[in-house]
Subunit: 230 residues, 2 copies
């Protein structure tokens, strides 16, 4: 078992170097990298579709998406239909994205070309739908976002503490279903706060778009802060 | 990388031996082992609570639960409150259960004692909430059950094909939410059938209990079949 652990550490150390390089590239270009993590079907792709729709007029930032799924290109197709540039990654069985995949994705996107010099502000990475493993891997992002939907139940933060304690912001989606399911909002808020006192919880209804302004303002503010770091 | 793969194969081979021993034990005792897999919050624990409530009168079979979670004992506590014997396993970060954990759990339960000789029919294993990794591991069960809930969306089978292609039955939970969310039932059924032509899809509303009879009859039938295998 000791050999396994040693080799695992070596593999992870190699990936940490990739994460470092991704982070340096994003820093140099003043691009915000956001790693979005949540259960299957919690609304990650819908969040990005709705973000695109809501920023269309005022355009506080431009973005592209690196889309992680075990299989299918459905999410990238949905985003393309919403006029969002998206690169689909299929992990073919793997339950999370790793930094070397992101580094390759940036190369595939032609990230070193002049095209991305001026007009790209944010890269959203939609991780594989999974509350456990993606939280363990640094992709070189600026911060992680935890997405949790009302029908999943209010007990998720303590059951999946790694993600909720690391996230810079917690998005509670599908609040339009609150009248139809049991969900203890006070418990959810208390458990998130116990794990992660600083992370705001934002309630979102992605069918009506209610709550999206807070999310968009949060991203715009973090982008602004990154631009002013010397 | 080659060394990593070789060691991984060795570790998995060791776990396959555990799975074999679990399967042999269950076979000898004519106990049905059922591995329940689904996303966080899809209704796995509620299914077991409701199963207990529904079989109380007619008592077609008795069961206990091995409860897998990354953290917390909440699910075992919920089951205890429903008078279900449950052993909580905390994986402390691991995203799935493995056969050696089940073998240990059977020992912890005092499985070799006379107590379980006569009156136990089914062991339900509630796996960690995750659609990806648990599908890769044989726990020594008789079959896997895929649980997918309506609010997760109809695109899950093709996005997580390993689970849906292996499952002996697919439970579509939270059908009471169909009026409030977009869910293409025909697409879901078509994709499940393409991956797994034999697996029935059972629709469940675990708030009213609608559909539970089919699930309970399915378990009772598989138990009966196992008892008649020489």
């Amino acid at each position: 078992m000791e050999t396994v652990i040693t080799i695992r550490q070596a593999v992870m150390a190699e990936d940490e170097k990739c994460a470092f390089r991704v982070r340096e590239t994003l820093k140099e270009r003043k691009i915000l990298g956001v790693n979005i993590i949540g259960s299957p079907g919690c609304g990650k792709t819908t969040l990005l579709e709705q973000t695109a729709a809501h920023i269309e007029r005022e355009s506080p930032f431009s973005f592209l998406v690196i889309e992680g799924d075990v299989e299918t290109a459905r999410d990238a197709q949905r985003l393309a239909a919403a006029n969002v540039e998206a690169l689909q990654i299929n992990t073919k069985g793997a339950c999370h994205l790793e930094a070397h995949v992101i580094e390759n994705a940036l190369q595939t996107l032609g990230f070193s070309s002049a095209r991305y010099r001026r007009d790209l502000d944010v890269i959203f990475i939609e991780n594989v739908g999974n509350l456990v493993c993606p939280a363990e891997f640094d992709l070189g992002e600026d911060f992680k976002v935890a997405v949790s939907s009302v029908p999943e139940g209010a007990d998720k933060p303590l059951k999946y503490p790694m993600l909720f304690s690391q996230a810079a912001v917690v998005l509670l989606t599908k609040v339009d279903l609150l009248p139809y399911v049991k969900f203890d909002k006070a418990l959810f808020a208390r458990d998130v706060k116990a794990l992660n006192p600083k992370a705001p919880i934002m309630e979102l209804d992605l069918t009506s778009g209610a709550g999206l302004e807070s999310w968009i303002a949060f991203i715009a503010k973090r982008l602004e802060e990154k631009r002013h770091v010397v």
